[in-house]
Symmetry: C2
Subunit: 333 residues, 2 copies
DNA sequence: TTGAAAGCGCTACCAG
DNA sequence: CTGGTAGCGCTTTCAA
């Protein structure tokens, strides 16, 4: 089933069918009607590959995330996709599950599809891959990794500042035994997040004891990490979690151990995903505006469709401390 | 950047480059090396559209879901994608947000991309669309909607049986004032789920009072619906939720109202998503094996890659009652 | 083992 | 307003 068959059936040329399908309004109305009828009758669906190939342009954006299961990523995707759709773009989603080989594969796939723009929201990026993307000339926006170049923009969150706010706050509440729970890819040697925690503790809470632990991202990961942490015998009065998703798992494990939050131990998250308000108790966390990030990404990737001025090449977002019920004064010994 | 440039640089024909890139091992090794070097140096990425167009085949599956935010859908996707990748397929994901026009758009898009197979995991399907898919000849598998035909398979969950188990169980615990909380698309006039609830109540719990409410799918939706329900003054001793995601929101609202679960009111979910174990209290729910569903979908869509016999055209899955702490005996008046 | 060339289905330009 | 046709970049015979 192709243009030619439709053309034949409608008694016109393929060029005309193409015009009708692309809403080019030089076509006489009677002709248009004939064509549309033929399309209907034949249940014709234009081959998008042929279209893209012939047209040269793509009208498709790509987005790569580490873990769609974490609502944080979904929220960004949702906004990006909504903006995109409004301008007639589609968005391809790829999920890497924190696996580097999957990341490589996905990036190659996106380049192969000649996406009009690519949003990469993953924890870690290999330098070679960044180079590959740079060479590809595809407008790209990274979240929290890489550096801006000709075709690459950057959105980052001032994670360090967020951690500082939390450590300061907990310190002011009297907490002196702290723990940080991350997930494996956020707790590598190079991790900004773990480093931010360590630096901040030694600066704002010099006398404090601390411990770190990590497992996977997610509920189960948070739970395991908490279990592991408690198994060491260390009894923190406050646990700082790399994100809300992990924190929700931590809360569960603490409950299991009969530890009350916040009376026995305070817990904080990061991101302010919807789930954080639904935890029990609701999480003290740091808000990161996912919708703003999604909008910015679209602007970076499709600047021509946007009226305002381009936002520049690099944007830093400050998280905002949200106090809820999972934190309180340190229990006196 | 295209095959020809690579061919020129490597001093061979485009046909040879194509052979190398497709791992057709008639190519002499020296030649292969030359080609691969050229590919490297030029940072060449084959145009996937051209490839699909020329090759005729697609090696890509599509999946359409109503709400990727609900972990249920993500779990199915994860399994399907893993199976697919193992066999060299990619999976396109589309999210409809429960919007019919989005569904239509996504289906057309998938047909236009000539996907090798399509999994449709949405709540409601218009008959015309089903027809369109049937005509398209694309191997398709529906979840919980439609009927099997030549190219369409079907996986359904015996939702009714699940609801029966829950209602019976609650009835046996002495509950006589029941409520059902759905989400809009699950509570339409045609909804199997609401209907299952109503039928079952009148059959297993004839004297029981009942009420239904609904909002969006998700945490916030569950919460609103619960708020609305309580605002009517009705005080159910048990609330049956359309799924776990909604139930988690319901729990939150009950807590807000000072209602203890399960002492004051029992709550049940459906799906047994990971989150259900992390709620407070953990949810009594009905298990639906998402991994099995994902595997089955892949088998339906790419039977040739699978060794075992094809599973037939239609499969019914029975949910399994999982008892946790969110249910208990009805409070005496 | 390699090359030449005919499409795949569509768009876009040039005529008419 | 409509038709003819040259590609888009790749795969796949058919020959060599």
């Amino acid at each position: 089933m192709n243009l030619e068959e439709v053309a034949k059936r409608a008694g016109v040329s393929t060029a005309t069918v193409s015009r009708v399908l692309n809403n080019i309004d030089v076509v006489r109305n009677a002709t248009r009607v004939k064509v549309l009828r033929a399309v209907q009758e034949l249940n014709y669906h234009p081959n998008l590959h042929a279209r893209t190939l012939a047209g040269g342009k793509s009208r498709t954006l790509g987005m790569i995330v580490s873990n769609m299961e974490n609502p944080f990523f979904f929220d960004v995707f949702r906004t990006l996709e909504a903006d995109a759709r409004l301008q007639g773009y589609d968005v391809f989603l790829a999920n890497t599950d924190y696996r580097p080989e999957q990341l490589t594969r996905s990036i190659r796939l996106m380049i192969g599809r000649r996406v009009a723009g690519l949003a990469v929201v993953v924890s870690e990026m290999d330098a070679d891959l960044i180079q590959e993307l740079t060479n590809s000339k595809i407008p790209t926006v990274f979240y929290d990794v890489g550096t801006a170049t000709r075709n690459i923009s950057n959105i980052r969150v001032n994670y360090r500042r967020g951690i500082e706010q939390v450590v300061e706050y907990l310190h002011s509440l009297g907490h002196r035994k702290l723990a940080f729970i991350g997930h494996h890819s956020a707790l590598g040697p190079t991790s900004e997040r773990e480093q931010a925690f360590l630096d901040t503790v030694s600066r704002y809470a010099p006398g404090a004891e601390w411990r770190t632990a990590a497992d996977q991202d997610g509920l189960e990961g948070g739970r395991s990490a908490a279990r592991e942490l408690l198994a060491t015998g260390f009894r923190p009065t406050a646990i700082i979690c790399v994100n809300d998703f992990v924190a929700a798992g931590v809360l569960r494990e603490l409950r299991q151990h009969g530890l009350r939050v916040p009376q026995d131990v305070s817990v904080t998250g990061f991101d302010n995903i919807k789930l954080s308000e639904f935890c029990c108790p609701p999480l003290t966390t740091l808000h990161i505006p996912r919708d703003r990030i999604g909008h910015l990404m679209f602007q970076f990737l499709a600047p021509e469709t946007h009226t305002g001025k381009p936002p520049g090449k690099e944007i830093m977002i400050d998280p905002e401390l949200i106090l809820r019920e999972s934190t309180g004064p340190a229990a006196s010994e």
